[in-house]
Subunit: 379 residues, 4 copies
């Protein structure tokens, strides 16, 4: 298979002088049964009002993609529905605008863009409040909601349609691969937003050195948090956290993280915890790490119900914020820091494969082969 | 024993024309061993800077008083310390200002006042943010922190010293007994504050028709919440909730509350839950009652660790706010509604005893004898 | 002219059993030259996605309508454009849903609705933050923005198309005329929202007893503000403010309002001012009425530039919020209070005319004939 | 005169091993008549509860000091009072803790500290909300309020007493002179806080390259604002702004700043303006620079009343925040950025004199001799 079938970089594209040639069909990876994916030929979709067609240039693999591949889409899982065959997954992608919907002038043909996942319906109570990741019409594209890769076709394909609200301009100096990391950085940024936003000089614990946690370290440090404490179990991930700016590393295999935070803060506790591990005891541990009035953002979660010391949360005036994805246009703020090189997001990008080899790429990501963290596929 | 030893109402007190006679000693109830209390003679304390001496005219019994009597003060319990003998408990009281500390002119001698519990230290990070119920010097009176009835002597006595920050003026038309309910109403008000404050037209579930829940119904309705749904297990308590303004009552013995909220909201879910039951499954049930982006305030808690579906909270962008007491001067806002007769707080006041009969009063409150809800003792 | 040409109330409409008959054309008032208006026949518009067609049952006249009639639309005025002939004005209307756009199930045919003015584009930065009244695509309907009566055809006509975001359900028990007042009450509500929302027990000054000011008194009092002080120059308007809940009335012809607020608050000053007079000295006076850290919402403005003591604002940490219209879904909160009869909005409705007599109705409103405040035209 | 009379650096002070020798009296500069100052001998003050005695090691001169010297203290000016003779001015100082009040363990003897100005009373409504710079007991030290250099003795002296809330730890690696700049940086930080705090990627205009404006550029850029546009009239100050991170410089003598911002933002306008010039047309110009829904912080002000286009503010939903000083513990956030070397605050420090030569130092600062910006006096 020829990777070039995933798109065609037209000379002069960035000037907008010539409209790029967009084929009628494209290659796209689609879900089959559990852990099955196939490469098929699909029509290239048409952008509607407030939408743009994006030629996919690169896409990163997220742990959620692996879960979707194995278990189906969240909406289907929740609804007890069968696997959604023919659905294209992949939600951390970037590319080039090749076609604009009616009245769209916010972006230009030829412009490089990266994406955030959620386009709210714009008509429910939550969207009208600006809380579009909590859209009450989630999963109802006829109402305007889109979550590419979750409820509408995503980015493991030649092209994708995106609502313009989900596009973020990519500066020339940023590589395609780095640009795919904006949604991850944006999720970390959003987590810090809901924790209050004023974090210069605050003690921030990031729990779990996965991609969101590692970029959470980078964003928190860029915004002046001091110290940033990273907890985890793998030494090489912790070392990467140090590269991204962590002031203290706690290896949970060597020291109890709550005790370590108490020690580092000289008994005062942390102000904020960005919980990205999803460990069963993570909420309880987070609540023991913060001081009275402290705040916890849950950006990950255990799949089973877990024991929680609710009394401790109440007695200590602790606030707990569950977040889904990257709201409040946080991807734009994350990109602003990245384009100013405030932290080295691309440090978490470890492997690249052609999109035609997506199964291999996913295998690397899932099994963490060769220290894989973020695996990117490119057209 | 003569109830009058608890204080002396001087003629003309309200005019401030004559300074009241304040004795050197007073009767005070103090903690002994578990479930022991004794009436002793204690010196009347002196108000310092920014403090006032209050003659106690009435005090309500809170479930926490009963717990303190049985198990000791929270700070001691947390610290594994022995019972604090000679400590005066009681934190929901009102009375008359009889002496002012230096430079205090915010209140007058002879003025009727009710109280909130927490006087923050005014010097820690949280107090400086206005989060005085999360004071980081909790339990350290030498730093300025006071929580009368918890860390400093409380109101089951003839007199108590209060920081002026904890005093709320009582209008002439309000009875002593009703005024003791301000701290309970203020806690409910604070719970609604942290949920966002703009609740006119919002669907609010109040879970648990104890005193805070019942007054939570009253406050939520006064602020325009619509509908207010009250869940509970006792028919007479639910009826009282209706009297206080609840639009829907759910008896959890007859219908699953989550199913009922879904039914009442036609599948949309509630916006906000004020959880006042402390039931083991309350957090999980609350999270199932709200819609995406919904908010839950935990004003009560189970004493044991409980199973929680954290994944549901995260996936649905739910925020959970633990609260301790009645911050952000919410007692003043609660009093503003009460003096304007926006809800009938005194409906939860069921029994009155002289303070000399505190053990009997507590017995009524603990055993809910004769339908007791709020039992008030008076001088 | 027959008023019935403005619409047709079909029997059984509210049951939704029968689709109403919608004619192809309708009567509509349109702007001509300055202070000219004509009644013309226009096509009935078609609702698009996320839109509904509303048969106008009643419309209130706003001071802004009179200004638009005299000076043209704000966008035109700002742009130095000629009068927009053939444009239908009127923005405070209510009616009945008679047709739904594709995928609209949020409202039913036959449902009574009232409106707010602004439908943001849903795709600019401000809309995405939830600040749709600050839409950066104001005046660009091709981008999705609508402000009926200002940038898109309004309500002095038989029918109007509305984005569903701008519709508010009207309960059966509320009259058509009262329902037209929701946008006015919603503007006052929004003003109080931006001032912080927690106003129980706060001292609120409402400056200027026009429609917004009078309903601002009603809303502030409903939310527990205490006291509410109303300033104005006309005794009968002030008396109406008292009916709506004002605790103190200041007649600026008899007493300097700043001095009066100082007197009433015993020198402490007010917490909040909702400025609805647009008087040249209003901002300065408001800044003298509030205490340090006080807040002022400007819901009206003088047309000329005015002298302002900026130093006083800065030295006293005062925040000033300009508002345009009725954002943050405040109309829904206003309606929630109105349907619960928390204040008597209809007290400001003084006159009713058939829509065919709009010129007369406007004459009454402009000249305040017979004490006219809100003049309503009905089909 | 011997500069050493201003304090005595004891060997081993930082270890806290030996208590420093504190003399009974000290030299202090005090106000005389207008533009008169004298060096006198005063008793060294005693720290009370929650206070520390600081030996002044360095103090920066602020424009407000020059104004106080010429016109008297603000409180006196407002009250029409005569000059406050014997009052020690100076409010941007740093030094070494030499004595602790009762129960103070938040700081150690020998610790280097810098200060913020305002210690709120801790007992008024505003302080209880955390708004201590809006303290309602401003100027009433008997109620606990302090504003050293404004209402209580300041830092042009050998020693000063500070409430611990106003102290900020100075890291070893930071020079005395740089540490005096924290209050200036903190004021800029506070200005950005009230503008919303989430400024990564926002377009921020800083108007006026005085000390606050220049450090405002540094703080805004450190937090990720992009672009930061600085307007001013002096080329060398603008160049310094570039050094501190400004992306665009506008010389108002060469281009109209509003036109320039419009050009730079390609017509979109800025999100935020931090107004630090105090120019008569600054508020109007700021309002023309921001887009709909934009925000303006006024950190400076013209001394006379000025013409303002209030209509433009209201029509465009603009919010205007007056700020007095450096609230919300912003000095701590500013110090966090400075100790992490996120911007080069010391670039604005141009001259140093011994404190004994304060008149000369003030002369340099007032007349901007030799390009003086921040002039620091040291013991």
């Amino acid at each position: 298979m020829d990777v070039h079938t995933f798109g065609l970089r037209t000379v002069g594209l960035r000037t907008g002088a010539d409209a790029p040639v967009v084929p009628k069909t494209m290659k796209a990876w689609v879900l089959g049964g559990p852990n099955e994916m196939r490469l098929v030929e699909k029509p290239v979709p048409e952008p509607g009002p407030a939408e743009a067609l994006v030629r996919i240039d690169a896409a990163a693999i997220c742990a959620t993609d692996i879960e979707v591949l194995a278990h189906g889409l969240p909406a289907m899982v929740a609804g007890g529905l069968p696997f959604n065959r023919n659905f294209t997954f992949g939600h951390e992608y970037m590319g080039t605008v090749v076609r604009l919907g009616p009245a769209v002038d916010e972006f230009r043909v030829g412009e490089r863009v990266t994406v955030e996942i959620h386009a709210g319906c714009g008509r429910c109570e939550r969207c009208r409040q600006g809380m579009y990741t909590s859209c009450l019409n989630y999963g109802r594209p006829e109402k305007g909601h889109r979550a590419n890769g979750f409820t509408t076709d995503g980015g493991f394909a030649g092209y994708a349609v995106n609502h313009i609200n989900t596009l973020v301009h990519v500066p020339d100096a940023m590589s395609d691969a780095e640009a795919t990391l904006v949604v991850t950085a944006g999720t970390a940024m959003y987590g810090l937003d809901v924790l209050g936003g004023l974090i210069a000089g605050e003690t921030v614990v990031v729990s779990g050195p996965g991609p969101i946690g590692l970029l959470g370290v980078g964003v928190a440090k860029a915004l002046g948090a001091d110290p940033v404490i990273l907890t985890g179990t793998r030494a090489e991930r912790l070392a990467l956290g140090q590269h991204l700016g962590a002031d203290f590393l706690i290896n949970a295999r060597e020291e109890d993280p709550v005790a370590a935070v108490t020690r580092i803060t000289e008994g005062r506790g942390a102000h904020l915890v960005l919980e990205c591990s999803g460990a069963p005891d993570a909420l309880d541990a987070s609540a023991r790490m913060v001081n009275r009035g402290g705040r916890i953002c849950l950006a990950a979660f255990p799949h089973e119900r877990v024991m929680v010391d609710v009394a401790h949360i109440v007695r200590n005036n602790i606030y707990v914020y569950g977040i889904r994805g990257e709201g409040r246009s946080a991807t734009h703020r994350a990109m602003a820091l990245m384009r100013q090189k405030r932290f080295d997001a691309k440090a978490i990008h470890t492997h690249t494969f052609p999109m035609a080899e997506l199964p291999t790429a996913i295998h690397y990501a899932r099994e963490r082969i060769d220290g894989a963290i973020k695996v990117v596929v490119t057209k």
